[in-house]
């Protein structure tokens, strides 16, 4: 018997959520269409661009593959083992999302550069600096991996924690070796999450601009350089439109290939009642492998990050023996007249963006009719992440030129812009989690009279809450680090990340590093909060 009052409330909430989802997706579709519509009269942009496209694709493909290899052990540890620093490893997923690339690139230079700490240490010990990968093509892949693999740890780790282990136990009882169990059972079950994570790293590496140029030396150039040139230097919108179509098509093609692999590999289904295994303590036999892995993580990720944090305490530009350490950069940031306003605006925009993204993700999930999403739909769901920020900024410039000013609080518009291009981070991992739920669960719900709203609110959402929470934290981190959306609005809205770009453009590297540290800590706090809740679920 349907409780009519409760049902009406839920229906109203669902209708509101669906309306909001429509508005938010329009915030992505409008600028995207506005840019690609320009491409029609422009024609073929030349073979040089095709060569650049190949270089961009190959480096992004290599970056995603190696990130998965490096991220898998981490995913296993966070899903199945208890160890000190687990929260920190999960929170480091915030790094590629919230620390602006220009700051991270300088972090790698400070740590792995010719004058950096790693080479100074190796020269002191071995007599020679052994870290020579910066300014080479492999350097791009190494830095993209070091920067992005925590995303694999987070997404695959979440899925791994949910696996019930019944099939693994069955295989073990039948005498299968641990390696065989991993490749034939576990990996197949994890395929959707691995595909989603690999796609994400591919896209971030594909659209990498600052890092690829700085770290790659003179080895080649990426598509974003061509897009920037067309959109901002040559002011050739037609060519920009063609480049956006080429970029988006190729990135979606690769993401589509991952989705095909996912759909072939994943044949497992878990019981809706299963909550995954409880985590065990690290055993003595696992300790050497775990220590080696974490040493690698600390060295490649926390080395550069630590360099940024250390630099934030250096009082003046340039290192010299007389360099003074202190809180000067932080004090200058805090005392600047509009800091509190920027902080409030950033937290409000990022928090609202996360809320919007969860609502849109939930609406998409509920309307995907519960079944595992097909490769085509899976590919299409990445579309907002497969369009470059430069392209969307151009689209927004075109739209705002033709419309009157919008009288909404700036944080609300910034949040909508961020949510519109990042909601796949909520939707895709959640869809991957839902893919493992057998259709019989939903059939059973229907047979006892549950309607679409009941099914969505009582079955679908609780099953994917862990993935939704991770996604929300990721969108929050993006919201904290994004400067594009604030720029689009004009000078009324100075978010912290926009302040950071202004610091770094005005000789103020110490303040920029200090602000980068603050952005990172704010994101870590939200990751820890969502991580803590996940453990309690």
């Amino acid at each position: 018997m349907r409780n009519s009052a409760g049902w009406r409330v839920r229906l109203a909430v669902a209708a509101l959520a669906a309306g909001l989802a429509l508005v938010i997706t329009a915030f992505f579709i409008a600028p995207f269409v506005s840019v690609i519509a320009l491409a029609v009269p422009a024609g073929f942009p030349g073979y040089g661009v095709v060569r650049t496209l190949c270089f961009t694709t190959v480096q992004a493909f290599a970056s995603s593959g190696i990130s998965v290899l490096v991220g898998m052990p981490g995913a296993f540890f966070v899903a199945r083992r208890i160890f000190p620093g687990r929260g920190l490893l999960l929170a480091s997923s915030a790094v590629p999302l919230c620390v602006p690339p220009v700051v991270m690139a300088l972090g790698f230079v400070m740590f792995f550069g010719r004058e950096g700490f790693a080479n100074a240490a190796s020269e002191a010990i071995l007599g020679v600096g052994i870290f020579q990968f910066l300014y080479t093509a492999p350097g791009i892949v190494i830095v993209h991996t070091a920067y992005n693999f925590p995303l694999v740890v987070l997404i695959v780790g979440d899925a791994w924690a949910e696996l019930p282990g019944i099939q693994e136990d069955g295989a073990r009882t039948l005498g299968a070796s641990p390696a065989r169990i991993f490749f034939q059972v576990t990996l197949r079950q994890l395929a959707p999450a691995v595909g989603a994570a690999a796609s994400l790293v591919f896209l971030y590496s594909f659209f990498s601009f600052v890092i690829a140029m700085l770290v790659g030396g003179l080895s080649g150039s990426t598509m974003e350089v061509e897009l920037f040139r067309a959109a901002r230097t040559d002011l050739d919108s037609g060519k920009a439109g063609v480049i956006v179509i080429m970029e988006t098509a190729v990135s979606l093609l690769v993401v589509g290939a991952y989705a095909m692999l996912e759909s072939r590999a994943s044949s497992s289904q878990i019981s809706a009642r299963s909550r995954g295994r409880t985590r065990k303590r690290l055993s003595l036999s696992e300790l050497p492998a775990a220590l080696a892995y974490f040493a690698l993580v600390v060295f490649f990720l926390f080395g550069p990050l630590g360099s940024i944090i250390l630099r934030s305490f250096v009082e003046r530009n340039g290192y010299s023996p007389s360099t003074a350490f202190g809180f000067g950069n932080y004090i200058r940031i805090a005392l600047s007249p509009s800091f509190l306003h920027s902080l409030g605006l950033t937290l409000a925009a990022a928090g609202t963006a996360a809320l919007f993204a969860v609502i849109v993700g939930a609406v998409f999930l509920a309307s995907s009719r519960n079944a595992r999403i097909k490769p085509f739909a899976a590919t299409l769901s990445f579309l907002p992440l497969a369009v470059s920020g430069t392209a969307l900024a151009l689209g927004w410039t075109r739209i705002s030129a033709g419309t009157d000013s919008i009288f909404f609080p700036p944080f609300l518009i910034i949040a909508a812009v961020i949510a519109s291009s990042s909601f796949p981070l909520v939707f895709r991992p959640a869809a991957a989690a839902l893919g493992n739920v057998p259709p019989s669960v939903f059939d059973a719900a229907r047979s006892i009279g549950a309607d679409a709203v009941d099914t969505a609110t009582r079955i679908t959402m609780p099953l994917v809450s862990r993935a939704l929470l991770s996604g929300a934290a990721m969108v929050f981190a993006i919201g904290v680090g994004d400067a594009n959306a604030a720029l689009m609005l004009g000078s009324g809205a100075e978010t912290l990340s926009l302040r950071l770009y202004r610091y770094i453009g005005g000789y103020r590297f110490g303040e920029a590093c200090a602000l980068g540290t603050i952005l990172f800590l704010a994101s870590v706090a939200v990751f820890s909060l969502s991580g803590g809740r996940r453990d309690a679920l």
Binding site: A348, L355, A401
Partner: protein
């Protein structure tokens, strides 16, 4: 099953900051709307002081609107040609001037202080752009990391500087394009050969000035492409003279920044008053330590820190934009394409 805790948390954040987030102010009809590039509007840029000073001097309120770099700001003004939303655009340099003028978005206006501007800095004989500051691209060196710096462009190709220079990509950066124009003015059609010789010296080519200069102050390279005035910043704020400008015999390319009144403005009188104000001694004196550029009015005394910013004897003023084919040929020679 517990409900996710993040939702109430996010709602809290939303409600808590609704109150403190300012409403959008764009479109206020009483204000003069001025498009500027991003660092102009920064707290330490000249923007805030100009807004205050102009209000005091004329009683006119200004709204500064920044939407990224100068290129992006110009794109916006061009797109709004039919329905202009701003009255003045600030920050169009000699690289962008041709495009801004040919698009027909600017009105001619010779400001009251125009007579003070030296002829070599005039951007347009019809004064559709009024120059307000200028600088020169130069190689800056770290005297604690390098004993004998190069003396000219050719000197940069010497093996002793192998891997010691960081420059910016001419496709994404104004100083990067300025450096390329510099080599073209010095070597003409043989510029790609110069870039081939320069290749071993270039450690990397970044997207913009900020990341390259960040590498330089982190000690990664002792040579960086920047402005003649960069060392003055370090003297003024970091109290160090370790960073120095290299003055090359072949001269240095000029960068002149200008402001123009946008065609279709409904506040022409106020816009003219603003352009006049940019050439006033008050604003001109503000520019050296906010923009780190020279004022166009030569009578303005410079701060003591500008002793570290030597003025090159020979200034190169590019007459025409570098052809795209030449940019591509130089990049090809460098191996970046």
């Amino acid at each position: 099953m517990k409900q996710p805790a993040i939702l109430p948390f996010l709602l809290f954040v939303l409600l808590a900051f609704c109150a403190c987030a300012k409403p959008a102010e764009a479109g206020d009809p009483s204000k003069l709307v001025v498009y500027v590039y991003d660092s102009f509007a920064a707290e330490w840029g000249p923007g805030p002081a100009i807004v205050k000073g102009f209000l005091k001097a004329s009683g006119i309120e200004i709204e500064l609107v920044s939407s990224g770099d100068a290129g992006q700001t110009l794109v916006r003004a061009i797109l709004e040609k039919k329905t202009p939303k701003a009255d003045v655009i600030v920050g169009i340099d000699n690289n962008l001037a041709h495009r801004a003028i040919s698009e027909g978005i600017l009105l001619s206006y010779r400001p009251s202080g125009a007579g003070k501007v030296p002829p070599e800095l005039v951007l347009d004989p019809e004064w559709r752009l009024t120059p307000f500051d200028w600088g020169c691209f130069a190689i800056v060196w770290d005297s604690e990391k390098l004993e004998s710096p190069p003396k000219d462009l050719e000197g940069l190709t010497s093996p002793e500087y192998s891997g010691k220079l960081v420059i910016m990509d001419p496709r994404t950066s104004t100083p990067g394009l300025g450096f390329l124009a510099w080599t073209v003015s010095a070597y003409g059609d043989a510029a790609p050969d110069y870039w081939r010789r320069l290749k071993p010296t270039v450690l990397t080519m970044t997207d913009g000035w900020d990341s390259a200069y960040g590498m330089f102050v982190a000690g990664e390279t002792p040579l960086v492409l920047s402005y003649t005035t960069s060392p003055a910043y370090h003297v003024e704020n970091d109290h160090t003279e370790r960073y120095k400008t290299l003055v090359f015999a072949e001269g240095h390319p000029l960068q002149v920044e200008g402001a123009g009144i946008l065609a279709g403005t409904m506040r022409l009188k106020q816009a003219k008053a603003f352009v006049d104000y940019l050439l006033s001694p008050e604003v001109q004196a503000l520019l050296p330590t906010t923009q780190w550029m020279y004022p166009v009015d030569p009578s303005i005394p410079l701060p003591a820190s500008f002793k570290a910013a030597p003025r090159p004897a020979k200034l190169l003023k590019p007459e025409a934009a570098v052809p795209v084919a030449m940019i591509d040929a130089c990049l090809e020679a460098l191996g970046r394409k």
